[in-house]
């Protein structure tokens, strides 16, 4: 397991955590660990208990939807520097999609129970992180809407 200083350095290099105070970084890093996965590994299952948040340091992850009687449909892929999963934020804390690695992938895994508790205890930190997650959600929602438009259905 990585020590907290190394984790803080790792997180400090990530755009998602840019501008946070050192003491806030300590709180976040104390809930985190670095994890590595091989290719094709299920990080979490659709419908499963959402007990962690992830930040991808290296590699790629497919968000998948299991459509009945059909193959798993990839909804979106996430890559280096992107956060993975927000099902842990809201009850009932279930994953809406499954997550599977596309290649060897390194992530920081944050314990959801500890993270929620830390944000409740420090509302300033909680509010700041919620704003950051809301921005990610908005951006992903917009991207998904554009995917639904089917740009290329009538290309010239």
């Amino acid at each position: 397991m990585m020590d907290i200083d190394t984790l803080m350095t790792t997180l400090g290099g990530q755009k998602f955590f840019e501008g946070l105070e050192p003491e806030q970084m300590v709180v976040l890093a104390s809930t985190a660990e670095e994890v590595e996965y091989g290719t094709g590994v299920e990080i979490f299952d659709e419908g499963g208990h959402a007990d962690a948040a992830y930040l991808i340091l290296e590699g790629g992850v497919a968000l998948e939807l299991d459509v009945s009687h059909r193959a798993h449909h990839i909804v979106q892929t996430l890559h280096e520097g992107e956060v993975l999963g927000w099902g842990w934020l809201f009850p009932p804390h279930r994953w809406s999609f499954g997550a599977r690695t596309l290649e060897p992938t390194r992530v920081v895994r944050f314990d959801a129970v500890q993270l929620r508790a830390a944000w409740e205890a420090d509302c300033g930190l909680g509010y700041e992180m919620m704003k950051r997650f809301a921005e990610v959600m908005t951006s992903r929602l917009k991207a998904t809407r554009l995917q639904l438009v089917d740009f290329y259905g009538n290309t010239h």
Partner: protein, 282 residues
């Protein structure tokens, strides 16, 4: 006898027969014609188009998809969408088509020298960009970072896939592909093409973007580059298609606001045409 039409215009409206050397099926609805110029010589710049005439059927504007310097033949990549393109798709080696051109303003390859080159294609929009990509690779020292981003519908719709994979193996350019939808078994990216922009390094203050694809794709890409990376609209170029007929700015069929696509474009900087994308019916 006096005539209303200048002889020079008549010359430009006369198609020259080009022999079909080969027809290559690229995708289920897309094919590439390899054409031999009659005297073995045809010069053009990346981004230009020709009017391709299927004898007895009609004429359509088609972007050139070959290298401007490397090949003696002319490649035109065409999607079957109407009577003319379907007729062109039935041609065989040894048949003839009529060609007029090349026409239109090319990609700003000279103006982009010394800058990062961000080439973003969607669907069949990769075809008009390919000559620019070849140019950048053939003149690699003229540019800083060269980035090719390509988005399409599904893994089965990837145009020039073998070539894209080959470019992806090069260390002097960055090539990323994404699709809008895929099933397990696809190990590439899934998502809109604009999501690839954040995965590549480039200097927005010294970059030129060449964007080609459906209008909505070009619009959201330009907006992303301007809003997310503070790129100036003058540094973002798009290529437009409208109902071109004459190709030489005479008939007015391709009027787009105050511009004629055929002579003022088809390549425009986004500051020239961006405002027109929001006007319904233009």
């Amino acid at each position: 006898m006096a005539t209303l039409i200048e002889p020079a215009v008549i010359d430009q409206m006369t198609p020259i027969p080009f022999k079909v050397r080969s027809v290559r099926e690229e995708l289920s609805h897309t094919f590439t014609l390899e054409l031999e110029p009659p005297n073995g010589d045809f010069t053009f710049e990346p981004g230009q188009f020709t009017m391709v005439y299927a004898f007895g059927i009609g004429e359509v504007p088609i972007s050139i998809s070959s290298s401007a310097t490397r090949e003696a033949t002319l490649l035109q990549t065409i999607r079957r969408t109407g009577a003319v393109t379907h007729a062109l798709g039935t041609l065989k080696s040894g048949d003839y088509v009529g060609i007029r051109g090349p026409y239109g303003r090319p990609w700003p390859m000279k103006e982009a020298k010394g800058r990062d080159l961000l080439i973003i294609g969607g669907g069949i929009g990769l075809a008009p960009l390919r000559p620019a990509i070849y140019h950048a690779m053939e003149n690699r020292d003229d540019y800083e970072r060269v980035v090719v981003l390509y988005g399409t519908r599904t893994p089965d719709d990837i145009l020039f896939e073998t070539e894209l994979r080959r470019w992806g193996d090069r260390t002097d350019i960055t090539t990323l592909i994404t699709v809008d939808a895929a099933d397990r078994g696809w190990y590439g990216a899934v998502g809109v093409v604009t999501r690839l922009i954040g995965r590549v390094g480039f200097d927005p203050s010294n970059a030129t973007a060449l964007v080609c694809g459906p209008e909505i794709m070009m619009t959201v890409t330009a907006e992303r580059l301007m809003e997310g990376y503070s790129m100036k609209p003058q540094s973002i170029y798009v290529t437009m298609e409208r109902n071109m007929k004459c190709g030489i700015g005479v008939c007015g069929h391709c009027q787009f606001g105050s511009k004629f696509i055929c002579t003022d474009g088809a390549v425009f900087s986004f500051d020239e045409v961006g405002h027109l994308f929001d006007i319904k019916g233009v």
